[in-house]
């Protein structure tokens, strides 16, 4: 029972972590809460669904297709809605992000309709594996596997490549990096591309897991992923992973012990409690205020 719930929690949590990474990277570089991120996750799920059900492609190809589509979309959103606002107040950029989010979800409502759509059964043949008393489905293994692979890939890009180094420098100090000859605009576009790709992958995985893709799935998932990013310490990549897993596991355990109608409150209660004890999140750096 415990093992079973733990695996359910880790599967859900790794999806939260994938989405949270996008929030945390964008925040780390331009201190913007990208509220449209949840909708990118939703669009990713729809693209994956289209690829699987109309073009009959393999689920892995569908994930890759959704990632590429959302990459382009993320870069375009940054270009249209955020770039002009980089110098103005952060609240204006936040409202602009909310505008993008409303735009995307109503666009999805128009194009795909109001009811939730499911993946065809052939999308991914689910089998159960018995380990002790626990039933692990191959689907959960797929989710955990894909999420782990993508996070390792992200870690590689951020730590080992030149553009990753530029990303770290920009998040350390925006102005100084620009003075050092880093093309900050390119770094920001790249960050949006990376974050959106991860969200899209998360979208397809969630779509397969719950077998439901709907126009309003982005809001709650986005809020919870954002909560996960803040819980881990916003701006910190390992923090987002940790926060996502923690929220996923605690949500599943909360539901398992009978608080299913409080499902959405569990994540936020943990968040509020942690922030009160440790105001910068679990792995966040302490910010010293200077006068």
């Amino acid at each position: 029972m415990f093992l079973q719930q733990l695996i359910n929690g880790v599967a859900l949590g790794s999806v939260y972590a994938l989405i949270a990474l996008g929030y945390t990277m964008v925040y780390g570089i331009i201190t913007l809460i990208n509220f449209a991120h949840g909708e990118i996750f939703m669009v990713g799920a729809f693209i994956g669904l289209l690829l699987v059900s109309y073009f009959k492609v393999n689920i892995f190809l569908a994930i890759i297709g959704a990632m590429i589509f959302c990459m382009i979309m993320g870069v375009l959103i940054e270009l249209v809605a955020y770039r002009a606002l980089r110098k103005s107040s952060r609240l204006s950029a936040l409202i602009s992000a909310i505008g993008v989010s409303i735009f995307l979800s109503s666009l999805a409502l128009m194009v795909f309709g109001a009811d939730a759509k499911g993946f065809p059964d052939t999308a991914f043949p689910v089998q159960q594996i018995h380990i002790g008393s626990a039933d692990i489905s191959t689907l959960q293994l797929l989710i955990i596997g894909v999420a782990a692979f993508l996070m390792l890939g992200l870690e590689f890009i951020v730590q080992k490549t030149k553009i990753g180094k530029a990303m770290r420098a920009t998040s350390e100090d925006y102005n100084t990096s620009a003075l050092m000859g880093i093309n900050v605009n390119r770094v920001i576009s790249f960050t949006f591309a990376l974050g959106s790709a991860l969200a899209a992958a998360g979208g397809v995985l969630v779509g397969v897991l719950f077998n439901a893709v709907s126009f309003n799935m982005g809001l709650m998932a986005g809020l919870k992923a954002f909560a996960a990013a803040v819980l881990g310490g916003i701006g910190s990549i390992p923090g987002a992973m940790l926060g996502g897993l923690l929220l996923g596991v605690s949500e599943v355990f909360g539901v398992a012990i009978g608080y299913s109608s409080y499902r959405d409150a569990i994540a936020f209660s943990i968040l509020v409690l942690v922030l009160l004890v440790k105001p910068t999140g679990l792995l966040g750096q302490k910010i010293t205020k200077k006068v």
């Binding site: 505008g99 409150a265 922030l275």
Partner: protein, 305 residues
């Protein structure tokens, strides 16, 4: 008296009346949030939670006690303000985005609480009996709007308001000047929530049906966009911003299914072209003086940012 007002209200087109009341309630809510975000600079993403606390409290007061509506409003406002102060005490120690996400989380918790709260019919929502007052609801709403505008205008230029502005501009400097920042922040939070509670009470009695799901994150965002769109910290800006946004869905009704699409795009474009809000940086005293033919003074000593 009541009959005359009633017939006055009846003479106005009901559809127009509906829009006017929606705009009025939006102004009250937005002015309350303006005290928190615009004046004090504390980003709150959970204003709708206080609106829902107000709505459910006043609905329950009407159902259980049948108190006169004006007393009901005052009691509701006080209850909401007390809840805000109790919550604000721990969370207002956080700053910036951490505070924002905490208010958001709190708002979600309040919503889930009401969705599971037996006395208010859980997720079915609550039917609210009509308010115990002779004054018709639309006029009541606009009376409160006028009171709210006067109140916030006075607060802005009072000692209290100047302390809040000091906190907004630089919290550390304000503290060094001897301002008790925590106390002022909690007071501002309570005042803003008081207005949200009153707005929620009016909303509940005007619509005569409330549901916890109506007060979700999107509602908070709606109110926040009104404040930011109008221009942060400006009372006329907030009034115009909330009038525009509260009536925009109605004006956009002719494009029926595209209207939320256009609304979203509108928010983005307004922000890109007017990042400080529609009226941000517009000085109303100067405009007024110029309109009556007097040269505005050139003293810009306390110009707003």
């Amino acid at each position: 008296m009541g009959d005359i007002l009633q017939s006055l209200v009846a003479s106005i087109d009901p559809y127009l009346m509906q829009i006017l009341v929606n705009v009025g309630i939006a102004i009250i809510l937005a002015l309350g949030l303006n005290v928190i975000v615009g004046l004090t600079g504390q980003l709150s993403l959970g204003h709708a939670a206080f609106m829902s606390i107000g709505a459910f409290t006043s609905a329950m007061i009407t159902i259980k006690t049948g108190m006169p509506f004006s007393l009901n409003l005052a009691a509701t406002g006080i209850v909401t303000a007390v809840v805000a102060a109790v919550i604000g005490f721990p969370i207002l120690r956080l700053t910036g985005d951490y505070l924002a996400i905490c208010t958001l989380g709190f708002a979600e918790i309040v919503k889930v609480f009401f969705l599971n709260f037996e006395p208010t019919n859980k997720a079915l929502g609550l039917t609210v009996p009509s308010a115990k007052t002779v004054i018709p609801m639309p006029i009541y709403v606009w009376l409160i709007v006028v009171i709210a505008i006067v109140l916030v205008t006075f607060v802005q230029s009072s000692r209290f308001g100047r302390a809040l502005k000091a906190i907004r501009e630089d919290e550390i400097a304000a503290e060094a000047m001897g301002i008790n920042t925590t106390r002022y922040k909690i007071q501002a939070f309570a005042l803003g929530s008081f207005m949200a509670g009153v707005g929620g009470a009016l909303y509940a009695h005007f619509l005569s049906y409330i549901n916890p799901s109506d007060f979700g994150f999107l509602k908070s965002v709606d109110i926040l966009s009104m404040v930011v769109l109008g221009g942060l910290g400006s009372v006329p800006g907030t009034v115009i911003g909330s009038s525009v946004l509260a009536s925009a869905p109605e004006f956009l009704r002719f494009m029926s299914q595209y209207r939320m699409l256009v609304y979203g795009a509108l928010l983005v474009f307004l922000m890109v072209f007017r990042p400080n809000g529609l009226l941000g940086g517009v000085n109303f005293t100067h405009l007024l003086l110029r309109a009556i033919g007097r040269k505005p003074s050139t003293n810009k000593g306390l110009k707003q940012k």
